[in-house]
């Protein structure tokens, strides 16, 4: 038996959720799996927006499950009921657990009050993906947008969530911005709850 085996307890005796193993999924393994999801979805759609819809649907189910898990694990069962609360939960807790870091920014939309944006300069799902020119505005971050939508919808904040590539000066590659547009009743409720 190797030296390492004698120091660590057998695999099945170890706790699954130690801080060491929690984020222990190889980026390569995830990248290949995600690549395969995109290729599979591509065979079943006829245009770019359908592909984005399909990826968002996959992400939606991840979001629903992540909410359940993280509220239990990190929030001790406490449910967010304010817009800012749930947004920072997404920006911090969800991002950290899924992508190993918090999102780069969380901003309020400039044009409308019901719009918020979460941006990431190097979104994990897009790290290895170059979109061909003929696919135009496709952003595979639609998967992450689906996750966000899943978390929001199942915690009582129905919203329309889309992913966009935003080019900005001084950056070699476009960042991914996830645009969240809340339903009117969510805004109304948040106003009623006051500050």
């Amino acid at each position: 038996m190797s030296q390492r085996g004698s120091v660590l307890p057998p695999l099945v005796d170890r706790h699954i959720l130690t801080s060491k193993t929690r984020n222990d999924v190889g980026v390569g393994a995830f990248a290949f799996l995600f690549s395969e999801i995109v290729q599979y979805s591509q065979t079943r759609v006829s245009n770019v927006s359908e592909l984005e819809r399909k990826l968002a649907d996959v992400g939606f189910d991840v979001g629903v499950r992540m909410l359940e898990l993280l509220v239990h694990r990190e929030k001790a069962g406490k449910r967010e009921n304010r817009i800012l609360g749930i947004l920072s939960f997404l920006h911090t807790n969800v991002w950290k657990n899924l992508f190993g870091k918090t999102a780069d920014s969380l901003e309020r939309g400039t044009s409308a009050d019901d719009e918020y944006m979460i941006s990431d300069h190097d979104l994990l799902v897009n790290r290895f993906i170059s979109v061909p020119r003929d696919m135009g505005h496709l952003n595979c971050g639609a998967f992450a947008a689906g996750i966000v939508e899943g978390v929001l919808k199942s915690s009582g904040f129905p919203a329309r969530v889309t992913a966009h590539s935003v080019t900005s000066e001084g950056l070699s590659r476009p960042k991914t911005t996830i645009l969240i547009k809340f339903s009117p009743e969510v805004i109304e409720r948040d106003e009623r709850l006051g500050s």
Partner: protein, 135 residues
């Protein structure tokens, strides 16, 4: 100093080519021809070898240039033309193999054995080349 890089797939088709200097310019047809000729030469060389287990030509030294070749276990060849006695070309080719594995193979829009058209690969390769040239 690096002059140009070629990537040839397992059946001898050129899937990527890039010149790093205005010195060694070939037109597209010539690069395709060079790619497949090198593929055949490489195959012949490993069969001609008197010693068993030969993996083919790794370095071709000419009067004016060196050609370094790196073949992966799946039969893809990365080869670079460089000035005589350039250092670190083999390491560069291995790094390019790493970039290929990351930014080409993990890209869902890339079809195996087809020409490489991946923005991110180009971008990463450019920085790798600058790194090697300045080393």
């Amino acid at each position: 100093m690096l002059l140009s890089l070629y990537i040839v797939n397992k059946s001898g088709g050129l899937i990527y080519h890039r010149d790093f200097s205005s010195l060694a310019k070939l037109d597209t047809n010539d690069t395709l021809r060079l790619g497949s000729i090198w593929h055949s030469l490489h195959a012949i060389s490993s069969q001609l070898s008197p010693v068993p287990g030969c993996k083919g030509i790794e370095l071709l030294q000419a009067e004016t240039f060196d050609l370094h070749n790196f073949q992966t276990p799946t039969g893809i060849k990365f080869f670079a033309v460089a000035e005589c006695n350039s250092q670190g070309v083999d390491r560069f080719l291995k790094r390019v193999y790493g970039l290929y594995a990351d930014y080409v193979l993990k890209n869902p829009f890339y079809e195996l054995d087809m020409p490489i058209r991946c923005e991110l690969f180009d971008l990463q390769l450019t920085s790798e080349v600058t790194l090697t040239m300045n080393a």
